[in-house]
């Protein structure tokens, strides 16, 4: 029972990380109509910057801030130089250009940091365990990530539904020409949204640093998971992203933890582990396929 609870929390933590990634992706797609594969590269860059600055400054918090600032600057530059020329282009070209960006970032990171993975220690202030329901301990750091994720969801929600920029963002997603004809420089808005997505992605990467290894290409598999998240949640929907990110996080984590055991109950130990392991690794994709059969446009639509 306690183990299940622990796995559930692990799933939540993965879900929250995915949400940070998926929300930027889905905003950028929902508003600018841009499919951005290189979103995962900012996740990677965020993790690398966090690792390096944490090492030099001795403070994980400063490391994260550095990652956020870097991502914001990179986001503005990328949007200005590349993305804004892609908004009106066919998705195929968006895929290609942002694929090119991935190659660019992966090689740049390798040139700067080399190909050895980096490791970040859990910040000492969060390096303890918390008793869940008075029983076994659960790492405080992971709990902090979950809390932060929920906090960011709230901020995003308030921002999108109650700020003037949020209103313009929603307005722009339904009719960008009209927003401009009413006197709003939508390019600036787009740059801002793109940079904001980049910041969330880098933040996710920085936070993931102490849990997973910081290595080249780390953003790619998680990016594809984020795609699954937004396909299920409905492209453009923040609410959909949040719900489906949590579902994906939990299904994936629980699947890996329990499917092998489950198959072992009626198969030989090694076969059960193999079949269960295989099934666990594809569980979320199967989930996606099943959902798409019933809801080809995902669970939620629009902002």
């Amino acid at each position: 029972m306690i183990l299940l609870l622990e796995q559930l929390f692990n799933g939540l933590q993965l879900g929250v990380t995915l949400f940070l990634l998926a929300s930027g992706l889905t905003l950028v797609f929902g508003i600018m109509g841009l499919i951005n594969l290189s979103h995962g590269s900012l996740y990677m860059v965020g993790a690398y910057i966090t690792a390096t600055v944490t090492q030099y400054s001795g403070s994980f918090f400063i490391g994260l801030c550095a990652a956020i600032v870097t991502a914001a600057i990179l986001g503005v530059i990328i949007e200005y130089l590349i993305m804004r020329h892609l908004y009106h282009r066919d998705h195929l070209y968006q895929v290609l250009a942002t694929f090119g960006l991935i190659l660019f970032f992966n090689e740049s990171v390798q040139m700067i940091w080399g190909s050895q993975p980096l490791y970040i220690n859990i910040p000492p202030s969060l390096d303890f365990t918390v008793k869940l329901f008075g029983q076994a301990g659960y790492p405080a750091y992971r709990l902090a990530i979950i809390a932060l994720g929920i906090f960011i969801l709230l901020i995003l929600y308030l921002f999108i539904f109650y700020s003037k920029i949020g209103m313009l963002t929603r307005a722009g997603s339904s009719n960008r020409e009209m927003v401009q004809a009413l006197g709003v420089n939508i390019n600036k808005l787009y740059t801002g949204i793109f940079a904001f997505g980049a910041v969330l992605s880098a933040l996710a990467g920085g936070l993931a640093g102490p849990i997973y290894a910081v290595e080249i290409g780390m953003g790619e598999s998680v990016l594809i998971l984020a795609f699954v998240v937004i396909v299920i949640g409905g492209i453009g929907s923040i609410k959909g992203s949040f719900i489906s990110a949590l579902v994906i996080g939990i299904v994936d984590t629980l699947g890996r933890a329990y499917l092998p055991q489950f198959f072992k109950t009626f198969m030989s130990a090694s076969d059960g582990a193999a079949v269960g392991g295989s099934l666990a690794s594809i569980a979320i994709y199967l989930l996606m396929a099943v959902i798409l059969v019933f809801k080809p446009k995902g669970l939620f639509t629009r902002l």
Binding site: E177, M178, A181, L182, G183, V184
Partner: protein, 240 residues
């Protein structure tokens, strides 16, 4: 009428030509709007009225001619700059934001200048129906309410010139009256307005100057008295 010569020019369009691809839609169009005047652009379907307005707004590009607004050339500016200089646009088909509430539609793009300016409350007193539906989504409004919202939204940018494209299209007579009443109110506030509409009779009473466009060219211009007298003009260019 006698005053007009001394009044300042709000908008002036000269030698305007516009093409969509290979087909020329506007040719050598000229029109002007004086401060505090209501000016109409009349014409049958597909003659280029919307195109003229879109070009003024920077939503379509001219390949010849100039557009001068408030003593500055605007024909090469992006549409957001044109709007910021003080043109409020009420487009054909209303184009309100369906996923924003009525209130959000009004305040998302609002801008206030010093001096006399429109605020949310004043829009509600101009169109009380909008106040009742304040928290409804744009998509839930009736056609008339959407039209009022589109006008309110444009007024909230506190424009020097208001441009209306077919603001009464498809509205029931009562609702149409409400729009005209609003225009009269705006006129009394010295708002300059350029309006495209098909209800010529209603416009004869409130507008100062009329331009008639046919196949992309201005074929007639004159004030309401002149237009009332020349039945032939109406029959030739405007009768359906």
């Amino acid at each position: 009428m006698k005053m007009r010569a001394s009044q300042a020019m709000m908008l002036e369009v000269r030698h305007l030509s516009v093409c969509y691809g290979l087909s020329q839609i506007l040719e050598d169009v000229a029109l002007s709007v004086n401060k505090a005047d209501i000016v109409t652009l009349l014409g049958r379907n597909g003659m280029g009225k919307t195109t003229t307005l879109k070009t003024i707004m920077g939503l379509a590009r001219s390949h010849r001619g100039e557009i001068i607004f408030d003593n500055q050339r605007i024909d090469q500016l992006p549409s957001w700059k044109i709007a910021q200089m003080g043109i409020g646009y009420v487009p054909e088909g209303r184009q309100i934001f369906p996923n924003l509430t009525v209130r959000e539609n009004l305040i998302a793009t609002c801008r206030s200048e010093l001096g006399q300016s429109w605020h949310e409350q004043e829009i509600y007193s101009l169109f009380p129906r909008l106040a009742e539906r304040k928290h409804n989504m744009g998509a839930q409004l009736s056609g008339g309410e959407q039209q009022m919202l589109a006008i309110g939204r444009a007024l909230m940018t506190n424009p020097k010139l208001l441009i209306l494209d077919e603001a009464t299209e498809g509205l029931a007579p009562l609702l149409r009256q409400e729009i005209w009443r609003c225009l009269e109110k705006l006129k009394s506030l010295n708002q300059s307005i350029l309006i495209v509409d098909k209800n010529i009779n209603d416009l004869l009473n409130i507008a100062d100057l009329h331009f008639i466009i046919e196949k992309g060219q201005i074929v007639w211009q004159g004030d309401s008295d002149q237009l009332k007298k020349s039945k032939t003009v109406i029959n030739k260019h405007l009768a359906i």
